[in-house]
Symmetry: C2
Subunit: 360 residues, 2 copies
């Protein structure tokens, strides 16, 4: 290393250049129907509203509890696990980023599906983690055999996104059985809308990490809460990395509102049940319109129309005030990912699509 100073050197050469993840649009217009980022159409639980009202502004002068005690305890009780098995973060993106940096430290590539949450390859690039995408089969299913080969870790969502397809517990267990020497992360962002959680497998697999979010089923995307459940050893390693990054990630509001949300199971069940009913109706209605819809276990429908171009449908809807998500990636560019909204919002969607067919 040449320690002579070369003042002609450009500071720009020190910059890290990355290709960032592109989140769905957050349009500022008021009168649109927003079915593009898998938010919940229902407001947060009345318990959350109450907690917000009672929040003590004077407490805000102090740092929050860095161990996130109240929220961690509430989550541990809710899921029937120890407080040393829960890690909380600023949305599940923060939790997953911490998992990547904590668990994927092998020379071998991390495996994940080719069509999946598009943040995985972004974290791999950011943290310089080798990775390998495993192609979904022709019906967009994950092939468990693809994950038998030696690797540096495995991550996939269940239900998968943007497909919405869920795999049974036996499938998860098969992957775990073939990956006892690495960490396996099951991203359960959408599990409350369908399918069986991998949480019961924690008792037998210390190398399993399950992640969750408040952004979908808890109607709290704006509060930024995600969490992971795993063996105390995995959680401790994540905590150490988190404390090396930022000691206080969860603000006081997130800690209080997050704990409050768990108290109201009836509201949670009612709203998720409604979303599931609206989703099932949506699959029916869209199919009647000629769409091919994947079998969704999530709060969105992934659908393609054999007669109409995906990008054109997306643009038409957008022009008419309905935002859905369209990905320009290979294999899925003909699909729309439509978040399940209120019934009346969905009616507007069906009507607008009918008009689209006449004009495209």
């Amino acid at each position: 290393m040449n320690m002579e100073r070369n003042q002609a050197g450009d500071w720009r050469s020190c910059l890290r250049r990355v290709t960032p993840y592109v989140p769905g649009e957050q349009p500022k217009e008021q009168n649109i129907i927003k079915l593009n980022t898998n938010e919940n159409p229902y407001p947060p639980s009345p318990a959350v509203v109450q907690s917000l009202k009672q929040m003590d502004p004077v407490r805000l002068r102090l740092y929050p509890d860095p161990s996130c005690g109240t929220l961690t305890k509430a989550l541990a009780d809710y899921h029937g696990v120890g407080t040393d098995q829960v890690f909380v973060g600023v949305g599940s993106d923060d939790v997953l980023a911490m998992a990547f940096i904590t668990f994927f430290n092998s020379d071998r590539p991390v495996f994940f599906p080719d069509v999946t949450y598009s943040f995985y390859p972004v974290w791999a690039e950011l943290f310089q983690i080798p990775c390998e995408c495993k192609a979904l089969d022709e019906s967009f299913r994950i092939r468990s055999e693809d994950y038998y080969k030696a690797n540096g870790g495995v991550i996939f969502p269940n239900p998968n996104a943007p497909t919405g397809l869920v795999e049974p517990l036996s499938f998860i267990e098969d992957i775990l059985e073939h990956n006892r020497d690495v960490i396996v992360v099951v991203d359960e962002a959408y599990i409350d809308f369908g399918g069986q959680s991998a949480l019961p497998l924690l008792a037998r697999y210390e190398n399993l990490l399950v992640t969750r979010t408040y952004s979908k089923s808890r109607s709290m995307a704006g509060v930024r809460i995600g969490y992971a459940i795993g063996s105390p050893e995995l959680i401790r390693a994540m905590q150490d990395v988190k404390y090396s990054f930022n000691s206080y990630t969860m603000n006081q509001a997130a800690l209080e509102l997050g704990a409050a949300a768990l108290a109201d199971e009836a509201y949670f069940k009612m709203t998720t049940d409604r979303i599931v009913a609206t989703r099932n109706a949506a699959v029916r209605r869209l199919t009647e319109q000629g769409f091919h819809c994947l079998d969704s276990a999530a709060n969105f429908v992934f659908a393609t129309h054999p007669q109409y171009d995906g990008e054109k449908l997306f643009a038409y809807l957008r022009q008419h005030g309905i935002y859905v998500r369209h990905f320009n990636g290979p294999r899925i560019s003909q699909y729309l990912r439509i978040t399940v909204g209120l019934d009346e919002e969905m009616e507007r969607l069906y009507e607008t699509l009918e008009r689209a067919y006449g004009s495209l």
Copy 2:
């Protein structure tokens, strides 16, 4: 790379092992006097209290604006810079972590003082950035000549912590003049309590990044807001990395309360003036008790007593319900870092110290 599967391999070998930063205690007891983590003794501004009251819980179901538009605009207006010159994060720790990963990508070591914010070496370890500590001089001052040699970036707080010593603008400029080929980060967490900000130098140095926090002078440690101001090119690079990490770091509460806080300059001035007055009185009172106090420009006093052991004083105070900070590091183990509290809290401190002298 051997891609044969060795199921006897242990998943533990995949874990990242780090030595985390240890934050100051956040004790749960109610009746203590908390002078250990440089929080503000005054509540957040009435504008913040008002904003909290008016917060719309229904909005929480939606993702926050990923560009943090309202808060960024408010900060840009406040500081008279462009919105493309402001980066916001979850406390200045988040901002600094992003700066480390974005800007310190050289084979050469990053330079920072030996006695300084103890998170710097932790980030360097986490992100595997080579670094070199430059010893403060015998009066705990940063020596600018130490930063002339070729390096991979420079970071220091001004005022420095835990010393509280501030350097003039000419000093910052000298360092910038000798470091045109790397990024120089000036961490101004405490600048509102004394000294001149480096912000005016931004007009001439595109490689300068200035960071700030709401945790000290804005009485909002519990809301987790920090920010950086720099050239549009630096800010864009940080945004790209941030979007590769977590698109939505700032929750709705932080965005709204953060913008509201800036509206009330009178309250801000009043509370910081009071803290400065209490600090100056503290230096006088502690000096009268035989302490040697460094010349603080921050909201804390860094002091050592020639007759009494630093750790013993710390333990005595703690036992009597007064939490201050004691660092076990080389050169500073005889010092206490005492956050400036309310006048009545400081009186309790002086009385308790007087009693300590009789019993130690």
